[in-house]
């Protein structure tokens, strides 16, 4: 395993240590190391490393550069909202704070390159200097020259420097129109299920046996692997749910080896976690609190994910229902649904020949205000006629983004709206006012 990481010019011990830290990434680390060559040798001017989230791109780079004590600057494009921060960080890492103070106010790329050259000509790199750009895809949104300049930085500053870009987006989506210096491309493949198991099992709590923890990870992967392969998320989920897994054990109900019982205990719990924690609908803290509550109370979680905690005034609910109907029913069917004595009109009577796709696939259609009001009065009719100001309620629905106003600049007097809530949501709302909305939806006739 460690034979992959052998390279003249580096100390054996350090390489050994690197290999230990880079479980399941030995091949990638080995390739990188052989590209980097010995510290004083040249490396390719720019390298583009791509792979899925949490596939160890940053981890491998950090371990290699830190453990082998190579001169480097790691720059996160998320944090560097302006290029200035990037310039400062690079100059600081390579030449110290004196170099940074040379940067003029609002420095340009030209200033950066000039100062870099000034600084490195008296002290040319004895070892390759590395600049690692994290989340490099964000470079595309900044100054258009920054990316092409970084790719050929070696040529521009005439120093032994290599720029390494890390991204989860493929290189083809970076290439500028007039081309640029093409970086060397390296792919970090996703971790297989076995590898994830291996890496996650490393985090085991010392008070439990390795087998026990590894059985837990196995169950966890069984639930989440088909949806999520992100090591970072899985690790988070593993940490969050472990105490629940251990519960029957601490209560003395089962033995450590009784995997089946442990599985039966944790599986429904993990499935619930998928709907909540994974989707970030509750914070980890809330989840931990919920875990301490009774089973019954946790039923409330479903409510959370349906967003029904939005409390609306009574008539606003009907307005929203009317808006939903107006958005998803063809206007010509309004008669059928809302006229009292429409006689018997079958669906086939107003069904157009080529109408195959359901409106629930195409999304809401815009409707004018008068149609909304017509439907509203018809659905609300048996109940007390509304006195509240309808218009202000409509605008507050727009503010809540439950309704969307479709702007038509040319028709100022006739605004149009779209309903912006899901079927689940509107069904939940309808239930609270005892309105059976499904009966009124053309798609479900």
């Amino acid at each position: 395993m460690t034979t992959l990481l052998q390279h003249p010019g580096y100390e054996e011990e350090k390489l050994q240590r690197v290999a230990e830290l880079l479980l399941c990434r030995e091949v990638q680390a080995g390739t990188l190391l052989s590209l980097m060559g010995q510290p004083q040798q040249r490396c390719y001017p720019s390298i583009f490393i791509y792979g899925h989230r949490a596939s160890g791109k940053s981890h491998v780079m950090n371990v290699l550069l830190k453990e082998l004590e190579l001169p480097h600057a790691v720059v996160s494009c998320v944090e560097c909202v302006s290029a200035v921060l990037l310039f400062e960080q690079v100059l600081l890492s390579f030449f110290g704070c004196d170099a940074v103070s040379l940067l003029p106010r609002s420095p340009s790329l030209s200033d950066f390159v000039r100062i870099y050259r000034q600084q490195c000509s008296p002290s040319p790199a004895k070892q390759t200097r590395y600049i690692v750009m994290e989340k490099a895809e964000l470079l595309r949104d900044t100054d258009a020259n920054l990316l092409p300049a970084l790719l050929r930085l070696q040529e521009l500053v005439e120093d032994n420097v290599t720029v390494i870009l890390l991204s989860e987006i493929v290189w083809d989506k970076f290439r500028p129109n007039t081309g640029c210096f093409e970086p060397l491309l390296l792919h970090f493949p996703d971790y297989s299920k076995g590898e994830l198991q291996q890496i996650l099992s490393q985090d085991r709590n010392p008070s439990y046996s390795a087998e026990f923890y590894s059985a837990y990870i196995n169950i966890l992967l069984g639930v989440f692997y088909s949806v999520c392969r992100d090591l970072r998320e899985l690790r988070h989920l593993a940490a969050l749910n472990f105490s629940k897994f251990c519960e029957p054990l601490s209560e003395g109900k089962v033995k450590e080896t009784d995997t089946h019982k442990l599985w039966r205990n944790i599986e429904p719990h993990l499935k619930k976690a998928m709907q909540t924690v994974y989707l970030r609908e509750v914070s980890s803290l809330q989840w931990e609190q919920i875990q301490q509550m009774d089973e019954k109370e946790t039923g409330a979680l479903r409510g959370l994910s349906a967003h029904t905690h939005v409390e609306l005034p009574y008539y606003s609910k009907f307005l929203l229902i009317a808006a939903y109907l107006a958005s998803y029913n063809p206007a010509r069917t309004d008669k059928r649904f809302f006229l009292k004595h429409h006689g018997k009109i079958r669906k086939t009577n107003f069904m157009k020949k080529n109408e195959k796709t359901s409106n629930h696939l195409l999304g809401p259609k815009p409707f004018p205000l008068d149609r909304l009001l017509a439907i509203f009065y018809s659905v609300v009719d048996s109940r007390v006629a509304p006195t509240a100001s309808i218009f202000s309620q409509i605008s507050s629905l727009v503010t809540l983004q439950l309704l969307a106003q479709v702007s038509h600049d040319d028709q100022l007097d006739a605004p149009k709206y779209k309903c912006a809530v899901s079927l689940d949501f509107i069904c939940a709302i309808s239930r609270t006012v005892n309105f059976d909305i499904v009966k009124y939806l053309y798609d479900f006739l």
Binding site: G37, C43, G51, L109, V170, E182, H360, L362, P364, K418
Partner: protein, 434 residues
């Protein structure tokens, strides 16, 4: 292959390899100038004569070097400069200003840089100039010798020349070309660009002041020459410290280049790009695999390097998708077939997916809409799908129209390679390719 006898060599094998890596990396990675540029003798001669006229005889001139990326434009100029500066007279007199369209993004920055490179910052001080032309004229005037009878020739080199054409009013270009046409001061303007249509970017008044001299670096290389080039680029120079090692290395390289499979690989690269730079990348990947345990480049190394260079990145990314995400892509593929490439939204994709699920009893893939939404968003984040129009701000996420950025063969390949792809999913996918 020859077996190296370490004991007979004046240097141990490890040292020889370190030295070989050093030399070749300078060539592939640092873009070190070759002793003699290959295959561009005519262009070299032309440019050298042109610049000599400015440097020696004080004539002004302008020229553009045009050629694709990595074709050797910068190298050509640098080689010419190296040869030009061999004359001590020139070395003493000639001033150089190097500008780069990537760095000097407007003419104010460019002028500052010119001042700096001509060491005239102190002369200029806080002087204020009425116009760009006035400022430039002042700079050139300041370069005149004590007796003011003759000016020192200045060479202006503009890398990524086309980017300067985007500067406001093309002021810098206008003024440089203007000076090069009048007899104000001897200057030569050398523009380097990869845009063949570069002249169309120039405003009329700028264009009319340009000499219209262009040096093209369009390679008409044959494959035999390309193969020869690969061999010379991998070979060690005569002055290598250990001549025995160098000789054996070069023999091995020759054998390598005669290998049938190597020839095939190089042929494939030759057809996609003939430039030096992409060849260097390929050879660099081979070189990086050389170690004491394996001291020569084998055909397999070239094969692997080529595979790395030509790998389909999107297929690589598809490999790491979750099974849910893969299913969504298959559903999109179906929709694309049914609706002939019309954009789709998440609801439609989900519906298509549900149709598949209905056909099977297994409930393994019954995910809630939000989980599916998250998968959909991940695909969007990876730019495997992209919004059909950007004005969709007001649309709910599940109804936003999207397009699939993958083609038939990429999905197909991904399915073949996908680890433990369930048979029913595979069959479902196949039904779209029918």
């Amino acid at each position: 292959m020859s077996k190296r006898k370490v004991k007979d060599a004046p240097l141990p094998l490890g040292d020889c390899l370190t030295e070989a890596q050093q030399v070749l990396r300078e060539r592939f990675c640092r873009q070190q100038l070759p002793d003699r540029p290959e295959g561009v003798e005519a262009q070299h001669k032309h440019l050298l004569e042109l610049l000599k006229r400015t440097a020696v005889h004080g004539e002004s001139n302008s020229v553009l070097i045009v050629g694709p990326r990595g074709a050797g434009k910068t190298m050509l100029l640098q080689c010419v400069l190296r040869d030009l500066l061999e004359e001590t007279e020139v070395q003493k007199n000639l001033l150089q200003v190097h500008l780069n369209g990537l760095l000097q993004t407007d003419d104010r920055v460019a002028l500052k840089e010119i001042t700096r490179q001509l060491h005239l910052e102190n002369v200029v001080g806080d002087k204020v100039f009425g116009s760009f032309a006035e400022n430039l004229a002042f700079l050139l005037e300041a370069l005149k010798k004590g007796d003011r009878s003759s000016s020192r020739p200045v060479l202006f080199i503009l890398e990524e020349f086309d980017l300067f054409a985007h500067h406001k009013n093309q002021t810098l270009l206008y003024n440089l070309f203007d000076v090069s046409q009048s007899a104000q001061a001897p200057i030569a303007v050398v523009g380097i660009t990869c845009r063949l249509d570069v002249l169309e970017l120039l405003e009329k008044r700028v264009k009319s002041r340009f000499s219209h001299r262009q040096i093209h670096l369009l390679s008409s290389l044959t494959f035999t020459q390309y193969l020869q080039r690969a061999r010379t680029q991998l070979s060690l120079p005569d002055n290598f410290p250990d001549s025995k090692f160098a000789q054996e290395w070069n023999e091995d390289v020759t054998t390598l280049c005669e290998d049938k499979s190597v020839e095939e690989v190089l042929q494939r690269h030759f057809h996609s790009s003939k430039d030096f730079r992409s060849l260097h990348m390929l050879l660099m990947l081979c070189l990086s695999r050389v170690s004491v345990a394996k001291p020569t480049i084998k055909p397999a190394d070239l094969l692997d390097a080529s595979r790395l260079c030509l790998a389909d990145a999107k297929a690589n990314m598809l490999h790491g998708l979750s099974i849910l995400e893969l299913c969504l892509i298959i559903a999109m593929k179906h929709l694309n077939d049914v609706y002939e490439g019309e954009p789709f939204n998440l609801q439609m994709v989900h519906n298509e997916f549900k149709k598949f699920l209905q056909r099977k009893s297994n409930s393994m893939y019954n995910f809630d809409q939000p989980v599916i939404m998250k998968a959909f968003e991940h695909l969007q984040q990876l730019e495997l799908i992209r919004p059909a129009d950007s004005s969709a701000a007001k649309t709910q996420r599940e109804y936003q129209l999207m397009r699939l950025m993958l083609d038939h063969s990429q999905i197909m390949e991904a399915l073949q390679k996908y680890p433990q792809c369930p048979t029913d999913v595979k069959q479902w996918a196949m039904s779209a390719f029918g």
